[in-house]
Symmetry: C2
Subunit: 299 residues, 2 copies
């Protein structure tokens, strides 16, 4: 990371916190404390459990309770116990609350507009494009990769999505029973491992690795959520698997894949995999890839 890069990031931080930050408070904190506004926003059109709200915003339970009471006395929300578990309470917007939320929405639009307003059309196009790029890359940088048990709810969520997607995309559909599926034991230590990628706590990708002693390490069940594609997440998962495989003493990484998964095949090529002849008889595979790995590899 060189000096010029750091300096540019600092200039960016300064300009943005000044310009966006100040306007943000000006527009959104107008007649309601920011905390309440955030809460109002997060409740959403269909209501939310208090517990989920707390998690999403990372706030103290006492604090949320107080904020909600304040919104309630203003007639913006109703709080009622859930029928099936009366400890949990559900918040719902009243009509007034919905109106207030719409007002916040309008203000966010105004804020965005006020940033663009002084610029001419050409500048606007360039600013929006640059913002999209910053947004995309900062989001990419926010995704965290962690080891997880394949039975963890987040891992399960990813795997279900993965199978659903295979079912939709494979010409022949996908029936887990017909495939060479590793059982969960093969994807947890000491026989392998499983990674989950999370964005703001939500699972958005996964990848498994089999580590058979004396044989090549094998990538299994790599999946990236559709809304986070294009962030380089697949590449990051591969890199992480590769370095972990190397740390476990493996010097070859391999995988098989279906011809319907074009983007993945492209990634394997560009990441340094080479196509090889079939090393298993997975009925859903059309391509088999291998990559020689070294401990020093870092991307």
């Amino acid at each position: 990371m060189d000096r010029a890069e750091i300096d540019q990031v600092r200039r960016f931080n300064r300009t943005v916190t000044e310009r966006v930050g100040v306007l943000h408070d000006h527009y959104l904190g107008r007649d309601r404390p920011v905390g309440e506004a955030r809460l109002l926003w997060e409740i959403g059109e269909q209501g939310q459990d208090v517990r989920r709200l707390r998690e999403r915003l990372g706030l103290d339970s006492g604090y949320v309770s107080r904020l909600l009471r304040s919104l309630e006395t203003d007639g913006l929300v109703t709080v009622e116990p859930q029928p099936r578990d009366r400890r949990v309470r559900t918040v719902r917007l009243t009509d007034a609350g919905r109106a207030e939320r719409a007002a916040l929405d309008r203000r966010s639009d105004e804020l965005a507009g006020s940033l663009l307003e002084p610029l001419n059309a050409a500048q606007r196009v360039r600013l929006v494009a640059a913002m999209a790029e910053v947004d995309r890359l900062l989001t990419a940088a926010t995704v965290a990769l962690d080891g997880a048990d394949p039975d963890h709810p987040d891992a399960q969520h990813c795997l279900r999505s993965y199978f659903t997607e295979l079912q939709e995309r494979f010409e022949t559909g996908f029936d887990p029973a017909r495939s060479l599926l590793p059982d969960a034991g093969e994807l947890r230590p000491p026989h392998g491992l499983f990674l989950v990628a999370r964005l703001h706590g939500e699972p958005v990708g996964c990848a498994g690795l089999k580590l058979p002693p004396g044989a090549p390490a094998e990538v299994k069940r790599m999946w990236v959520a559709p809304h986070t594609r294009g962030l380089g997440l697949g590449r990051r998962l591969l890199a992480e698997l590769e370095s972990r495989a190397a740390r476990h003493g493996h010097d070859v990484l391999r995988l098989d894949t279906n011809k319907a998964l074009g983007a993945a095949i492209g990634l394997y090529h560009s990441y340094g995999f080479e196509e090889v002849t079939a090393f298993n008889d997975e009925p859903y595979a059309h391509h088999w890839f291998e990559k020689r790995i070294t401990t020093a590899s870092s991307e």
Copy 2:
């Protein structure tokens, strides 16, 4: 301004305030309230008058006074009356203060680094480039254009810089006495007007307009500070002058310029001016331009 643009700006605002904002507080507000840290930073290496500090940060005088006392009791600054006007007080960093400020500097670097850290080299390059673009265009959008009297200190500052620059850039140097200079009266109502562009309150550009009844309006003394060039500020000044000239009933805008000012000549061409034969005998002019204007023109 279309919906897609607004939405992208809103996504950007959200990502950036979350990612940069949260880290900002985490890194910079570590062992010192953000208010004090900002002040410490703004005092700078060579010290500042309390009054200027207040202006720069837009804070209440009582509040600043209290913050300074707190920094003083921590041994980070000294506050002393200015010798020439003992009402005004000057703040200076002590050695401890300088060390603390250096620590803040390091943290800003760390913050910047932490944004780049999860990305690979290619992504980093793209992020930094996009940040530079956003920074540049948001800065451009922050510049305010206001009418001003040509004798106003900010206008005078611009004009002095303008003349100095002409002196340096013209092959023959520049001697105001030899040039066809409008007197200040011609650049203030009702005979004309004068615009000053300001960034965070600092003058960074100017432009004058002569409005002789029954004759073409004439652009005079247009200047943009070197560090704000490339922001489209010249174009904005021209557009503003054009619309004001139109509002005063003029339908032609004209100007003369020196061959040394290549960027300006390029701007005049691209803005829609056409070169014409000399309409005056300004000794420093090599090119004369004219543009037909309409009331409806907007850029």
